[in-house]
Each structure stands twice: as C-alpha cells, then as structure tokens.
C-alpha cells in the first residue's frame, strides 16, 4: 500500500502549463526526489501535495484518504521550506511545538516530543534561542525538527539544502538521509541538484516542463535514461545528433559530420536512417596509449584543451572529422600533465554509447 498516490495531477497558471498529468506512487518509508531544472513544475507539485496550491485536476491520496481538496491543516504533512520559514517571534522550542499545539497534544508530551525532535537534529540546548540568533545550518535543523515533531504521514522537502554553503550542504545531505532512514518517514524531496538526488534518493522522478520524464532508482536513471532530456541532465555529457547506420547484434550509429560508433543496444522500433540522439558521458571517454585495451570504439584525436579541476582533469578533444568531445579523467599521481596539441587515442566502450530516438520522434518510439 503506497503512502502517497498521485494521479492525473495538472495545474495551469494562465496559459502556462506548470504540471501536466503527473502521476507518482511513493511507498511507506521511501525517499523520492522530484528532480528537474527550475520552472519544471517540481515545486508546484510539492505545494499541491501540501495543499498550498489547489490543483486544476487530479487526485492525491494520502494513505486511504483523498486529500487533493482538503485545506493544508487537515493533511498531516510536514514541509521544510527552502527559506526555512521559521516563526521569527517564537523561540526554537515554540517553533518546534507549534504543530503539536495545533494538534492539542498535552503540555508534558509536547515538552518530551520537542526535546526528542531537537535531539534528532542535534540542537539540544538551544530551545530558548530565537531563530535570528542561529546560523543558517541551525535554522535549517529547526525547520526540520518543526516539520517532523508532529509525526506527519509524509515529509516534504522543498530544496532544503540550497541556501547552505557547499561544505555544510554535504554534511546536511548525509544527516537528512540518516534521519529519514532512522524514522522511516516517507519523504518527497524537491531539488534541481542531480548529485543531491542521486546520493539521497531511493527513487528519482525527473521532470521537464511539467511533464514526467522518467521514474527509477538513481542507478537506472543514470545508466538507462529514457529520454534525451534525462540523459543530458545527468552528469556532464557530450550529445550529438546522429542517424542509425546498421541494426543487428552490433548496431551502429553515424554522428552528424563525424565517425560511426558501435552501441550496445538501440531502442526498439528504429529503422536504418532514423534520426537519433547520442549521449556519451564525459567520464566514459577514455584516453588510451598505444594499442592497449580492446575497446569497441577507438579514434585518433588531438588534444585541444586540458584543464585542471582538482581531482579530475578535463580534456577537450578534436576528432579528425572535426567533432569535439569532452572527456573527464582522474589524474594519476606523478603523471605528467598533458599539453594541448598532443595526439592521443580515444576509446569509448559500446555500453557507454547511449542512443535514444531524437527528441521530435520520442513519442513514436
């Protein structure tokens, strides 16, 4: 039995379609991310689940109950805002107790549960502080404690980490996930940050322009993207227009103005000559020396640009046909830096050549 079941959810703002026929089921204790660029409708969906925006059509079931037309205070949902939205005139204790007081919990129980919630987010001892006396990270934790203290059936997180600085964000990401697993609280997390979504989620739900692109585990979505949008959204990748050159057990595609590549598999229903979109992640492009290794796709290339990025090094390579590829590689210790102009050999495994029907033909596939 899914805790949250959404079907046919739609919302327009004037002529702008914010969310179109969205469906999702979240199991008890699951952590699902809504991922997409800004304006893709993910926050609108979250606010509709919370009841802060009324949908135009659709159903939102929370457990057994249809809540799509219920006011937010009847839904038993906890929401953490990007801006934290703490009550500035109340102490940390009163902020966390707010939801409990609305549920008419006895005073002694309130004290106990506020203490529990604050202990969970490691803020014990700060009960009497006011929000403005706390750091951004602490405010974030208060917002989280406030949302979970009433033990909601569903926890919604609206980009809760994006106002934190990079280091703190990494810490909070892990803590949030630990907390979620400890409490086994069903969670829907909205983010535009693919790394956040990949590291934290049980499942990811990728959205673009209000339309659901793909739902799956982080691994599935990363390795087997269903649409060109998903493929290009994750990781840093090279994307090319191409046509199908050959079918069969070892199908090939020809890049526009470039070489022909062998792919591990093609999407079903494509004929020779069909337009496709080919995506190759930067980390799948390997620089090899000599004749070592037997990769499926090997080309001679010249190094156009090499840039140092800490742990990794980024290379821009030009193939003889004139196409440019970007590669990303770990630098070995003591390895001499590569200089532009160098002739190198490029290898791409056939599993890493991701082929999808071209965007326009996506519906036909």
């Amino acid at each position: 039995m899914a805790t949250l079941q959404i079907a046919g959810l739609s919302k327009r703002f004037g002529d702008f379609v914010a969310v179109d026929d969205f469906a999702l089921a979240v199991a008890h204790g699951e952590f699902v991310s809504l991922l997409g660029p800004s304006g893709c409708g993910k926050s609108t969906i979250l606010r509709m689940i919370a009841g802060l925006i009324e949908p135009d059509a659709g159903s939102i079931r929370l457990g057994e109950e249809e809540v799509a037309w219920q006011p937010p205070h009847r839904r038993n949902i906890g929401l953490v805002f990007q801006s934290y939205a703490l009550f500035p005139h109340m102490s940390v204790f009163e902020n966390v107790a707010f939801g409990l007081r609305r549920r008419r919990v006895a005073e002694a129980t309130i004290a106990e549960r506020v203490a529990d919630a604050l202990a969970l987010v490691r803020l014990t001892g700060l009960e009497r502080r006011l929000p403005r006396e706390l750091s951004g990270g602490q405010q974030q934790r208060v917002a989280l404690a406030r949302a979970i203290a009433p033990r909601p059936a569903l926890l919604l997180l609206d980009e809760p980490l994006s106002n934190l600085d990079a280091k703190l964000r990494d810490v909070m990401r892990l803590e949030l996930r630990r907390l979620q697993q400890e409490l086994r609280i069903t969670t829907v997390f909205v983010t535009h940050d693919q790394e956040e979504a990949l590291t934290m989620s049980d499942r990811i739900c990728v959205l673009s322009h209000g339309v659901l692109q793909q739902v799956g585990t982080p691994r599935e979505i990363y390795s087997h993207p269903a649409t060109p949008f998903v493929a290009e959204f994750f990781g840093r990748s090279n994307a090319f227009d191409a046509t199908v050159a050959a079918l069969g057990p070892r199908p090939t595609v020809t890049l526009a103005g470039g070489p022909t590549l062998t792919a591990a598999q093609l999407p079903a229903g494509l004929a020779v000559g069909a337009p496709v979109r080919v995506t190759i992640r930067q980390e799948s492009v390997a620089l090899v020396e000599g004749a070592a290794g037997g990769a499926d796709n090997r080309f001679a290339a010249s190094l156009v640009l090499a840039s140092f990025a800490g742990r990794d090094q980024q290379f821009v390579l030009r193939l003889p046909e004139g196409i440019e590829l970007t590669a990303e590689a770990r630098i070995g210790r003591g390895e001499a830096p590569l200089e532009p102009g160098l002739a190198v050999e490029v290898a791409i495994a056939c599993e890493d050549v991701i082929v999808m029907p071209a965007a326009g033909a996506a519906g036909a596939a």
Binding site: A50, G51, L52, P71, P72, H73, R75, N76, I77, G78, L79, F81, S83, A85, L86, F87, P88, H89, F98, G99, R102, R103, L130, R132, A143, R146, A147, P150, L156
Partner: protein
C-alpha cells in the same frame, strides 16, 4: 568633531536639522515663556511670571472634559482605522491581482483632495438634511433626523475616514514584509487560516500596528480643520480651543499653555511607544 560627523551620519542630517530648528523648535521656544505670563483682558500679556494658565486649564472641568474628549476621540479613531484598515491592508499586501496598483492608488486618492473638501463632503452626508438623514426618513426608518454632526459621532466618522489611508499605508508595508512562506509553514503544521492570523500574522504585524496607531492618534488629536467643520463652533476639541484662544479671544498665554499640554501628551506617547517597540525587539 569632523570624524564624529562623518561616522555618525549627522553630517547628512545637518541641513534638515537646521531647517527644523529654525522653523519648528525656535518658534516653540519663543512661545514657551508666553505660557507663563498672565493675561490681562484689555491690556494684553503681562510681564509677571505665573503658573495660572496651566493651573486654570488643569483645574477646570470644562478644559479637562475637552482634553479627555480629545484623547478619547484619538483612541476611538485609532481603533476604528485599525479595525477597517487591517483587513484592507492585509488584502492589498497579499493580493496577486493585476488591479493591485490601482487599488492602492484608490486608498491614497483621498489624500490628494483638499481637506476642507473632504470634510465638507461629510457635512453634505451627515447634516440634519443631509443624504443619510433624508434617506433614513424617506425609508421611514426614523421620524426625525438623527444628530450626526456637531457631536462626537460626526468627528469620529470624519476623522476615521480622513486618517484611514495613513493607517493602511503603514500596515501594508509591515504585512508585505512578513514572508508568505512563514504563513504557509503555519498552515502545513495544522493551523487554520484564523489561527495563522492570530498566532503568526498579527504578532508579526505588531510593530506596524504600533506605528500606524501612533501616527493616527497624533494626527487626530492635533487635527483642526475637520473638527472645526464637523464639530461646529461649539463642539470643541483641544486644537479648535487653542485656535480660538489665539485668534478669537486673543488670550495667547492660555492658548500657549494649552498647546504645550498637547505637545507634552504627544511627546510622552512617542517616547512610550519607542520604549515599547524596543522591548518587543529585545523579546524577539
């Protein structure tokens, strides 16, 4: 000295400060001794020093009633503008309507009309043969015209209307500064709209409610034109009384004493509200 001026920002204030000192504080100080001189009918202002002017005002039931009436009027006008103004300001601060700028202009619009015209408008409505009475009589709800003017009711209605824009403008600013997310957070935590208003929005609007109230109170107790027109020559408040003492009776010393009593009340109030605001700020 120069560095102090630079750092404190008083350098920037010096020009307006100078103007205020010359045209506001200086005349006030010139008037101060006048209030301590005796008035001799037919001879003018005496040179002796005395407290009679203040003693007369503060010991006379007639004057005390007018002071009480003025302060009471101030309080009730504040209450009325708050009651009408808060919902209006809340709506204007929160609406996403495209008409919003026009609605705000509509609120400000009365301020662009001459005060005498606005007050006269109320005379047309409230007088014995005014629109309101004629209508009520025509509907046979009353037999004789209600006394709506030259009394407390008339002043209350007129002044509340005239000072409502000030209250609304101050409140709009405050309510706009309350993030919507904070109200939304309260709603997701189980608060109904009414509870959100009581527990979140109203407490966070208190600074605006305080400054709006002070503004309207001070404007009300010092208003002259509207009380004169709607109160007539006999229904007095402090400001009309001061006006009469100075320009009709020519008893400058008593007028001055009266004016300083009014000023003292205003200063006391501004000081007290400042303390209150600071206390709130430190509690938060």
């Amino acid at each position: 000295m120069r560095r102090w001026l630079d750092r404190s920002g008083f350098g920037l204030l010096s020009a307006p400060l100078l103007v205020l000192l010359c045209v506001f504080v200086a005349p006030l100080l010139v008037l101060l001794p006048t209030s301590f001189h005796p008035y001799q009918p037919g001879r003018g202002i005496g040179t002796a020093w005395t407290l009679t002017n203040y003693a007369q005002i503060l010991g006379d039931g007639f004057y005390l009633e007018i002071i009480a009436r003025t302060l009471g009027l101030g309080l009730i006008v504040v209450a009325a503008t708050l009651l009408v103004g808060y919902p209006l300001a809340y709506f204007l601060a929160r609406t996403r309507s495209r008409l919003r700028p026009w609605l705000i202009i509509l609120v400000i619009f009365p301020l662009l009309l001459n005060l005498v015209v606005r007050s006269f408008g109320w005379i047309v409505l409230l007088s014995n043969h005014g629109l309101v009475n004629d209508l009520l009589i025509a509907l046979q709800l009353i037999e004789r015209p209600l006394k709506l003017m030259f009394n407390f009711t008339g002043l209350l209605v007129g002044l509340s209307h005239i000072f409502l824009p000030f209250m609304v403008l101050v409140l709009i600013g405050t309510i706009q500064n309350i993030p919507r997310d904070v109200e939304d957070a309260a709603r997701t935590l189980g608060a109904s709209r009414w509870t959100v208003l009581r527990e979140v929005t109203l407490p966070l609007s208190l600074p605006g409610i305080l400054s709006g109230s002070i503004l309207v109170f001070v404007l009300t107790i010092s208003a002259l034109v509207t009380p004169r027109l709607l109160g007539g020559p006999t229904y007095q408040v402090m400001s009309t009384l001061i006006y009469d003492e100075f320009l009709k009776i020519l008893n400058w010393p008593r007028g001055a004493a009266m004016a300083f009593i009014l000023t003292a009340i205003v200063l006391l109030l501004v000081w007290a509200s400042g303390r209150l605001a600071r206390r709130w700020a430190s509690v938060r």
